[in-house]
């Protein structure tokens, strides 16, 4: 299965090579992917199928191959649940190879979730005005 960044204008992400930050601006949640998770993200954004990514990544990890595949699948499921990525069955894969870990073999991939801004937004909600304009305020902004 192939994936791409969510097409929502409220989602952005940036890869810095060995780390990735993603953000969902409506709920204010930020995400960090380090190590093998950042590599998997870069592979997904290159349009490479998850199965291929796992096959190329597993030898770079000191984890059991089956465990690594299961963790990679969980990561993608979480990214989908958080609406950061979406399926892209027609994606054109570009050349991509994982970069070996600078500090040794990779561990299992994981997603860090930061809710500081979400908490602030809940304390002081911002009322967005919907596309049709004033005075229709969104009672609960769509994600």
């Amino acid at each position: 299965m192939q994936y791409r960044l969510s097409s929502s204008p409220n989602v952005s992400a940036r890869s810095f090579g060995d780390e990735v930050v993603a953000a969902h601006f409506v709920n204010g949640i930020y995400y960090s992917l380090l190590g093998s998770a950042a590599q998997i993200w870069d592979g997904l954004m290159a349009g490479v199928a998850l199965e291929t990514i796992v096959a190329r990544m597993a030898p770079l990890s000191d984890a059991d191959a089956a465990d690594f595949a299961a963790a990679a699948n969980r990561l993608v499921e979480t990214l989908l649940a958080e609406q950061l990525i979406e399926p892209a069955p027609d994606a054109q894969a570009t050349a991509w190879q994982p970069v070996p870990g600078a500090d040794g073999p990779y561990g299992l991939p994981a997603l860090e979730r930061f809710t500081d801004m979400e908490d602030l937004l809940q304390l002081d909600p911002v009322h967005d005005v919907e596309e049709m304009g004033w005075p229709h305020a969104n009672p609960a902004p769509a994600r």
Partner: protein, 335 residues
């Protein structure tokens, strides 16, 4: 009626009135935007102008126009949020409009029509202009007009030596002002203690205001800086010294290259120490700090700031209370 139509109608009226009354326009340059500002209201509005005096510029063919209203806008109350929302924050930021209502100063609206490149700032109770607005006037309008430029205002302090600057990022109380002013006492140029404007490629920081705001517990620490104190204000129950840095002999810089981004560790001061920081942490904290005071256009701001963070070293910092040690340590980051 669509918000865009309401805004355009209000802008037509403010323009017609400004022309009829021959209101003078003062022109300023903030980052990539030249703004002609016209004040329409009673004298309290004049207090918004001194802290942007250093950004005065010549009129430009591509300048935008901002009308600052300190009186009733008869027939345009529909531009304000419905009464049940006026105690809240109301935002609409899209490609054609930037609209931000804040429950400050008894109601304060910034509304920018990005298509016609005109906007207004409306103080619905002009005698309630807060010290925050005097120190950082038109910040949201500058943000609203900056979308199409490479620049974006951020919540940070900055000081420079010879066109090389550090950015100091953190929430209120993180020590931005104290670190910046400690450097100023050691000969650094001042760009800002709370709000500056940045771009990513090349990495540059620009001053917005000549103001600095000191908390009461730092008054004694900066006696030379306090000589430029205009007043001590009450900022939501907290005493703040309102300083105009142009009154000091220390140099102020208009713009400089960003050589490092620093994030003071919460919890105070100690031995000066810098620790490499994950870019993802730096971008998140920079976005969070800025988002709190300058809402909207998050995707565009994220794109600009992520490019900036990618190109500049970022550090956690424990600041030294010794200005000389602090200054020399920060100066090493400029090389």
């Amino acid at each position: 009626m669509d918000l865009r139509d309401l805004l355009r109608a209000a802008l037509v009226e403010t323009d017609t009135r400004a022309v009829a009354r021959q209101l003078p326009a003062s022109v300023f340059r903030f980052g990539g935007t030249t703004i002609a500002i016209r004040l329409d209201g009673t004298p309290p509005l004049q207090q918004l102008m001194p802290m942007i005096g250093g950004r005065a510029a010549a009129a430009a063919h591509d300048m935008v126009v901002l009308d600052v209203i300190g009186r009733p806008l008869d027939g345009h109350d529909g531009l304000l949020p419905p009464p049940d929302l006026r105690r809240r924050t109301v935002l609409r930021a899209s490609s054609d409009i930037y609209y931000l209502w804040l429950d400050e100063a008894d109601g304060y609206l910034t509304a920018i029509d990005r298509r016609t490149r005109r906007g207004l700032v409306w103080f619905t109770a002009v005698d309630r202009i807060a010290s925050w607005h005097v120190a950082r006037p038109f910040l949201h309008a500058i943000k609203g007009f900056s979308l199409e430029t490479p620049w974006t205002p951020i919540h940070a302090a900055s000081v420079a030596i010879a066109d090389k600057a550090v950015l100091i990022v953190g929430q209120s109380g993180a020590g931005k002002t104290s670190i910046a002013l400690s450097c100023v006492t050691q000969g650094w140029s001042y760009l800002g203690d709370d709000a500056v404007i940045v771009r990513a490629d090349p990495a540059r920081v620009g001053a917005l205001y000549s103001s600095a705001r000191l908390r009461a517990d730092t008054f004694a620490r900066f006696p030379e800086i306090m000589k430029a104190c205009l007043a001590v204000s009450d900022d939501a129950g907290e005493e703040k010294a309102e300083v105009d840095m142009t009154l000091l002999p220390a140099a102020s810089a208009a713009e400089a290259e960003i050589r490092a981004i620093l994030f003071p560790r919460p919890g105070g001061w100690g031995d000066l120490h810098f620790a490499d920081m994950h870019k993802s942490d730096a971008l998140r904290k920079l976005m969070e700090a800025t988002r709190q005071s300058m809402m909207g256009d998050e995707a565009a701001v994220f794109a600009k700031l992520s490019t900036l963070v990618a190109s500049v070293p970022c550090y956690h910092m424990t600041a030294s209370g010794d200005p000389a040690v602090l200054s020399s340590g920060l100066a090493k980051l400029l090389d």
